[in-house]
């Protein structure tokens, strides 16, 4: 069996095969096959409820799966005797709703996991956190509590928080959907910078223009399956599947493309 996108002879960063997941009677993922190579950026598009977020949560082991397999650099992470905490150290995830810890300031949000999980010293964690915050224009926010920040700033802190664990892969779950329109650009710029830095990313998004610009491949999901998987130029201008065409038509009608 060949998984779409898998390089022959190369181990994919993430290799998902036959992934199934239900919530009660609700079948959300119905046999997803997807391989993400190192340094590749893949955007997942599709209507709400098509399974994009669930797919990302499954990869990070936040949801137990019902069938199929997920391999991380060749290792099955969905089998028994897997320490999810070890897996999650290598996979950063950023959520639509930021989920910063409201009782900690920005610096502490970023350094919590490095000090508690990676056992870094406070001094080292602080230094690395400040370097990251500085890189993403948040140096002056280190002492602020999340409620003092704009949505865009909060989301950038959430990205920095995930990066502080030095993950191999980043999962971004509709990270701009909860933002006011004028704040979207600053977050997308950060993601763009990560992509140009070679970060492997799996991005669920509604920002079609952004997906076209940044993705190596775009996957269209519907009813828990990947319907079409192609480079953005091809998928957006010449979709092969009728369902992809229908989805993109609606997006165009909504003036989102």
């Amino acid at each position: 069996m060949t998984v779409p996108g898998a390089f022959e002879g190369t181990t994919a960063a993430v290799e998902i095969s036959g992934l199934r997941k239900s919530f009660g009677p609700n079948l959300v993922l119905n046999g997803v096959d997807l391989a993400v190579r190192s340094h590749e950026v893949i955007c997942l598009i599709g209507a709400s409820g098509s399974g994009k977020s669930t797919l990302l949560r499954c990869v990070n082991l936040l949801e137990p799966i019902d069938g199929g397999q997920i391999r991380l650099f060749g290792h099955d992470i969905t089998g028994p005797n897997i320490d999810p905490n070890l897996v999650r150290r290598q996979i950063g995830i950023v959520f639509q709703s930021f989920n910063l810890f409201p009782h900690m300031n920005v610096l502490r949000n970023v350094t919590l996991a490095p000090t508690k999980v990676l056992r870094m010293t406070a001094a080292q964690a602080n230094a690395e956190a400040r370097a990251l915050l500085d890189r993403f224009g948040l140096a002056d926010k280190a002492g602020d509590y999340p409620d003092r920040l704009s949505g865009g700033q909060q989301q950038r802190v959430a990205i920095v928080r995930a990066l502080a664990m030095q993950p191999q892969i980043m999962l971004l779950d509709e990270v701009t959907s909860a933002l006011d329109p004028e704040l979207v650009a600053e977050v997308l710029a950060v993601i763009g910078e990560l992509a140009s830095g070679g970060m492997t990313m799996l991005i669920a998004t509604h920002e079609m223009g952004f997906a076209r610009e940044i993705a190596n491949r775009v996957c269209f999901l519907e009813e828990g399956r990947i319907i079409e998987d192609a480079p953005p130029a091809e998928l957006f201008s010449d979709p092969k599947d009728e369902r992809t065409r229908r989805f993109l038509r609606r997006i165009v009608e909504a003036k989102r493309l």
Binding site: R57, R88, S97, A113
Partner: protein, 305 residues
Amino acid sequence: MTDNIDNLATEPPAGTPVGGFTTGRGPRLFTGGGRRGVVISTVSTVIVLSILLTIFLLAPGARTFEHAFFSPHNMWQAFIGNPKKGYYSVGAAIWLNIRMFLVSEALILPIALLTALIRQSTHPAMFPIRLLATIYVDFFRGVPLILVVLALGLGVPALDLPVISHQPDVVYGVTALVLSYSAYVSEVYRAGLNSVHRSQISAARSLGLSQRTALRYVILPQAVRNIIPPLLNDFISLQKDTALVSVLGVIEANQAADIYSTLIFNYSSFTVAAILFLILTIPLARFTDRIIDRDRRRRLAGAVT
């Protein structure tokens, strides 16, 4: 939580009087209105107090009542006590209440937290312990505290066990307070744990934090902040309920006042006890209000949806 946040986006800032009431923050004694507001509240306070005082003074038994409950001489005597005449100082006895309160509280906080965590656990192996914890909470929330005090204070010595049955009465009293209040406070903790949004757990776990670490650094601090008002409310209640230990004959403030009234036939000693309890509880009540106001600000971000 979600509703709260959504509302805040469209409504005036929390604390702004809406339709004559403050919304979204703790009770505030003095609300805004500037200089005019101060004048209005002063006049209104004077009028209300005058009416109450007039009703009191016009009551047929006002003189008798005043002597029985507010006699300065008796109040002072009850406060300082007089061992030669056989009554104890209410002022000294309140220290026992304070000590009982402090010891109880120090035991209740960890025991209640442990009970709450056991009841919140989901592992199948924990089932028997979870069942025990549930029975414990149901039982002690259902039985009147005074019965628990009596049952322990009279029952345990009757068992004639080594050591356990030979403690001073105050130990049984405090044990009863701890058992009863831990059951209540564990439910407060549980509400607090549930008030932290699931997404916070996702965020913590996704960073590789173990369940324990996530609980310790992410969930518990937020849960405890959310329950500070009800927790302090239970503390206030506990301060007063230390008086129930008097049924075992322990000489705390209420018992000392009772002895005075029985010997001297004057109830002013109870007024002294009441004033002392108020002096203990009112600062805690005001402190609670301040904590609510202070922490409100920090709770508003992060945990949306």
